[in-house]
Symmetry: D2
Subunit: 473 residues, 4 copies
Amino acid sequence: MAVSYTEATNAGTEFHLADHNLSNTDTSANTLPFSTVKLPHLIDYLHDLQAHPNPLEHNQFYHPTDGFYITESDVILRHIVQDLSSPLHSAAYHRAGPRNRVFFDPSQTRAAIVTCGGLCPGMNTVIRELVVALWDLYGVRQIFGIKSGYRGFYSMEPVELNPKLVHNWHKSGGTALETSRGGFDLQKIVDAIQDRGFNQVYIIGGDGTMRGAVNIFDEICRRKLKISVGGIPKTVDNDVGIIDRSFGFQTAVETALQAISAANVEAESAVNGIGIVKLMGRSTGHIALHATLSSRDVDCCLIPETDFYLEGKGGLFEFLEQQLKDTGHAVLVVAEGAGQNLIPRTDAQKEEKDESGNPVFLDVGGWLKSELKKWWEREHPDELLTVKYIDPTYMIRAVPANATDSLYCTLVAHSAIHGVMAGYTGFVSGPINDSFAYIPLEEVAQAKNGVDVKDHKWAWVRSITNQPDFARK
Amino acid sequence: MAVSYTEATNAGTEFHLADHNLSNTDTSANTLPFSTVKLPHLIDYLHDLQAHPNPLEHNQFYHPTDGFYITESDVILRHIVQDLSSPLHSAAYHRAGPRNRVFFDPSQTRAAIVTCGGLCPGMNTVIRELVVALWDLYGVRQIFGIKSGYRGFYSMEPVELNPKLVHNWHKSGGTALETSRGGFDLQKIVDAIQDRGFNQVYIIGGDGTMRGAVNIFDEICRRKLKISVGGIPKTVDNDVGIIDRSFGFQTAVETALQAISAANVEAESAVNGIGIVKLMGRSTGHIALHATLSSRDVDCCLIPETDFYLEGKGGLFEFLEQQLKDTGHAVLVVAEGAGQNLIPRTDAQKEEKDESGNPVFLDVGGWLKSELKKWWEREHPDELLTVKYIDPTYMIRAVPANATDSLYCTLVAHSAIHGVMAGYTGFVSGPINDSFAYIPLEEVAQAKNGVDVKDHKWAWVRSITNQPDFARK
Amino acid sequence: MAVSYTEATNAGTEFHLADHNLSNTDTSANTLPFSTVKLPHLIDYLHDLQAHPNPLEHNQFYHPTDGFYITESDVILRHIVQDLSSPLHSAAYHRAGPRNRVFFDPSQTRAAIVTCGGLCPGMNTVIRELVVALWDLYGVRQIFGIKSGYRGFYSMEPVELNPKLVHNWHKSGGTALETSRGGFDLQKIVDAIQDRGFNQVYIIGGDGTMRGAVNIFDEICRRKLKISVGGIPKTVDNDVGIIDRSFGFQTAVETALQAISAANVEAESAVNGIGIVKLMGRSTGHIALHATLSSRDVDCCLIPETDFYLEGKGGLFEFLEQQLKDTGHAVLVVAEGAGQNLIPRTDAQKEEKDESGNPVFLDVGGWLKSELKKWWEREHPDELLTVKYIDPTYMIRAVPANATDSLYCTLVAHSAIHGVMAGYTGFVSGPINDSFAYIPLEEVAQAKNGVDVKDHKWAWVRSITNQPDFARK
Amino acid sequence: MAVSYTEATNAGTEFHLADHNLSNTDTSANTLPFSTVKLPHLIDYLHDLQAHPNPLEHNQFYHPTDGFYITESDVILRHIVQDLSSPLHSAAYHRAGPRNRVFFDPSQTRAAIVTCGGLCPGMNTVIRELVVALWDLYGVRQIFGIKSGYRGFYSMEPVELNPKLVHNWHKSGGTALETSRGGFDLQKIVDAIQDRGFNQVYIIGGDGTMRGAVNIFDEICRRKLKISVGGIPKTVDNDVGIIDRSFGFQTAVETALQAISAANVEAESAVNGIGIVKLMGRSTGHIALHATLSSRDVDCCLIPETDFYLEGKGGLFEFLEQQLKDTGHAVLVVAEGAGQNLIPRTDAQKEEKDESGNPVFLDVGGWLKSELKKWWEREHPDELLTVKYIDPTYMIRAVPANATDSLYCTLVAHSAIHGVMAGYTGFVSGPINDSFAYIPLEEVAQAKNGVDVKDHKWAWVRSITNQPDFARK
């Protein structure tokens, strides 16, 4: 069975904090096809920490019943699609939820919340729920927002937050705390956390942010501070691994459909009309894939995980030519990161990096539009062609969360708080097969979530669009 | 391992069709903590049936790759939240998706589609996807819609369907095939199916409909007809068991939020304003629960699975009084089936039954409104009170599916077709832990999906609303 | 004309007609077919009042150009549809907009804003714009909200308002100031206005509210106080006369379409399905009429301005029978006040009055539903009939204003401020033939705006729905 | 003036002036300050044309009452904002609506409908309403859609239309008839109209299209054909003159607000965030202006009708610097045609023309973004700046019409039909001061509708945004 913090305490010296094998598993003791993933805990390095009864015990209106508190033996299995012809094995993660003991005295708790990276629907909802739940459930009264991302820890005054102030934040997209990329300076950040007396740090951000959070967590361990770090994965692209999806993703897909619908209208209303929609997704095509499966309008979906080509047999032009002949119009959905290897790059473009240090992505939609026009003029100089290109990126990521994502935001925020109050640290909360669990920060920071083009979700796309597989022969 | 149809054929005589133990499991052969649920198959009673290669093999544009076809050893685990301190056990269901062999020749296939019961967002999308996928993927050209529910089999002409006709159906709520309750006449229905030469029957409906479908399937088995019956669970209340949720549910929750938001505006804009929203859910409170978790406006959520009371310590009035004192307003969400035991019933009402033969539900929202007014007049005769009551039922169930549900509709329809083409029968397709699987009709017809008020989802609600637990002491 | 300002004018030897006579109703001097409607002004009874240059002169960024200030000779014609075969005559109203002189020193200005009566989309937007424009344009710093309608003047503390506080109010429906009906106590209200030192009072409400505002204005005149009263008509029913329409009306129609669409889906998805939608409109059918013209789904629209009957030749049942025969379904839209004379009333109901003292309206939608069912059972006992009834009232009036209404809210609020600052009083601002004008409060309080069933708007409805004219012969 | 009707009138002894002289432009006989604008009529050049009673007489369900038919003396005044200090004069237009006599026998009527130019919300609604009203009201059974704009008359087969086919067209944006620019060949078009036997031609398009329609009308007059030409102005930019606005405009503004809201969220969520939204409007800034007045988020609105400059005192940079200092963010709305004189043009760009022969517009939004970044790097090299640029054009013009525009589409289509049936030709139908009227095609083809920056609508913008007036000193 998994290592609970009490056993860890008992085990004491064997606990190798230095090499961070927190995600190690221990399945030797039984024959179960699971291994429970260990979760870092303050007591791993602060062995004398005192636990208190959970303040939820004293709520005026409701009374925790049997089963209300989650125990260490409650786990969530990760791999549920099994091929029975192979040996089974699955990781199991600790289930999220309130524990019967906590390691923070609410009156001594000082929480900081920060948002980093790009916008994503639901950020304000997560912040709001962190504030309201810390306040209402656990009675925490010192809650602060860090402005402008990581750099805000050391360069700006924190903003004091309370339920009244954040009451309507969820109605607006974006983040009322503002966000930025970069600005990560480990020592300055941890110094600031320490100086300001924060003992709970909630970090909302993507994979880059989570890698920073791992460093902050490591440094806090090194300094043996009683500060818990809870992460909440934010990635509109859905490229963070292990978790099912991140908040805002369903809203992004919903909003993307508006752009696809517009592209379809433009295409259908023209003679030989082609609509192109570029959707977010630098390394993964999840939004493009889900939008394609949700819409009835997409004829071809291009994602970073599969190559494609334009000319020749089995190529995009051949397919589109057939499509225009059959129905008079076509709609292409293309993920931001698709086809980057096909677009000619100037020397300057080869050098350029974005604010997070990633290579600059070229505009695949604009390139496709121009290639399509050149091709048509070459092949059908006397026929009309209309290509309309829509890039709805900023209109997608700036909307408030829809109902599905709002519920997610509530659960992910409450989960994070329950975990942090219970003394866990260096973890994120997130859904695994639709149940919220705790996952070590380090695992999440390293896991990638690409579209598995050998899997059925991608097969669905191909069966719906009837698009070529670009397996040139 | 699970019984594949070939083994079943080999096993021959042991196959006890009479007692329908199709949901029996077989785990004796190994030590896995799973038992794979057996799925009925045409070959169970038509032992000489010939299989053909899947027509997907011959698609012009794409080529099934390794792993494209699902095998009998691909299963989905049902129970993924585990308490490691107890012995583990989970049912496992066959994964949905194309099989490499099919038991229908598309040119001989004659499919019928019927919708029964109340409206639910996405019905038209499911119909459309059944038609388009049968046509485009498998080359089926004889596809018919049965009008007006079960009675339409024997009392109305079927409507011939094709992709062009259904092209835009998903843009409208409701069902273009029309629907009705009742009208189930087993012999007439199976006679009509036989007379019209249908060999695939797709039935979209709720638990009552699924019980009818089981009977149809049994009768077809009895007559040893080569007719596959595929079910698609439709229940806006989400009261069908085993599957995660049914299509339209997320859309219903999303739309319910509009009503809650309106109730909140009404409440906030009045002196001592109370807004009541009644949401669908006769036996279960899923919509109420999810809407409460998605909204930030609900102060109290009442569902059929828990009792409540109005007067006295720990009662609803006490809670609302406090709420009005603290914030000046309150919002109640109440599921249709909540509090039915509290509402006084006239003798006539005690007798009355609805079209499906269920006891008539009394209007809990109207009753609450009137009780609240009486209470206030009694307790605070000189103070204003405004109670606004919203019943958005028909505005919720009549909208088209949102993106999340649209994707579900696509997958559930394609899954059903792949299963039926592969010769399975007497099953439904539906998601289990987010992956589509096949489940015996009979299991689904009997399973209930209530809100587990001992589980954490309900605890979330209580932690968000801070509402009383009505555990009178 | 009844209002006291005429007497004031008569009395006024000190009144410098040279400056202000343009607002006299005087067309004798010329042959114009217009008569300009006189507007009350503080100087009517405070003859020595000093004017100042408009503070807009000193704006940092822009500079009033020629034509920026509206003069007394700028008017808006009311009657623009003319029958040239009759003698022409039209009232003309003073155009709204900034005047080059004002009668309030911003530093001495103390403004109060109150909302009365039922909810209407845009109330919060109007409040917000009053606050922001008083602050930003004229430099007023003392702005107060009166809570809970008229009774709030004398029974509650005013809330101090500023642009930061109201910044996002327009995103929520309803009124953040809360509202109520009744509570009108003239002396207490004017005493309170005087005691608290308010010298500008902005009153947002319907015809009842405007009749109250006339009394307040009269009493202020009687007391010769330097207090301007500006009204902003609010009526989601659009039953206030003279003005084109009030804010929120377009939003209400837009939202009503959702209910009609749902009713249509319910009707189309059933065998012999009838959908009924009850829309707001006690004395007038504007919302029903506009929604019918905007939708493509309505088969019959019933409004208070025309009688109808159920049975017999040319009756509703005959029409619906034909409709069901032709298309299988029908959608009825019925205004709240339609058919009140047809519904049987119990003695208790004959006595009952609502909070504003009006006779209680019976539920015409529920009555129609029940009559339809009885009729069908009588005439077609063996055929199915489904009647679904939707009352979307609270979901319509609680939404925020759409773009068209938001623009209206901006202009009506700015118009009111410009008028009040210029010393006008006892007036409302509102659009006449799409241009904002000033209208005496008294005129507006008395004018009714019914649907003219002899006019073409109603003829449009009849040509679209093809419904009977209920002109029994 | 090109049109033959004046000559026809002069020539016309057979012309029964008693019936038709009301449409003369003749005010000499009285002292009215109006002149009624004459409308072309088939009888102007086909003097023996027979009139019939209006088929509306024979409707089953309703009976035209007094005042149902519009007479020639019903007019709409155009200028209703008057300066009483100047002499008054206004044009008056014939009111739209059914006439008691028609000049087409429905059984002999053959109508053609064509859409030209770019997309605009509501096109499909107008087409649908034309088809349904011709069919239902007047009993016309030969109704055809011309595909692909003007070129479709002579290069494609017309599509036969009927109410069942077009039933749901209004639910989709764009035009189901497809559209294109160019392809105008007068002789080929009129030959095709004649060859195919069309005698009613409904042309939906913008100012360019209307200029083409004038030529078609002239040529038809020259050939003395009994073919009526009715125009329906379509311009999402609202740049067509005389009429209040064209259909789709309110929808465009509503949809533009989504982009502005997104830009505001992006700006507010960043450190020194600037959001830029480019809105449609090549020669006029109506959409930008209305969106600015409807939103609460715009800090500066730039339109083609006013110049602006970037650097120096009173320039855009100075204003934005102040804005960022005050609030930390800013939102710019810029019409497509604004600042074209400021953007450096390459020689190639100086030559380039679009499909309609207009000079190519450069991307003012992209240029502003790049200039802003250069300026900031120069002035504040160490401070963050985030500029997000949104171009929502295709997402705006491809949506279906909202309620307000849908009503407009109904009225404009019915108006056009009533006019054409009554024998008018060479006219458009459109709203003048909110009442539908008939206007000679030629007038509309020549009239421009710019934003009058001396008028108050523009002053409203400036008072709301507080933006500079760019009146450099």
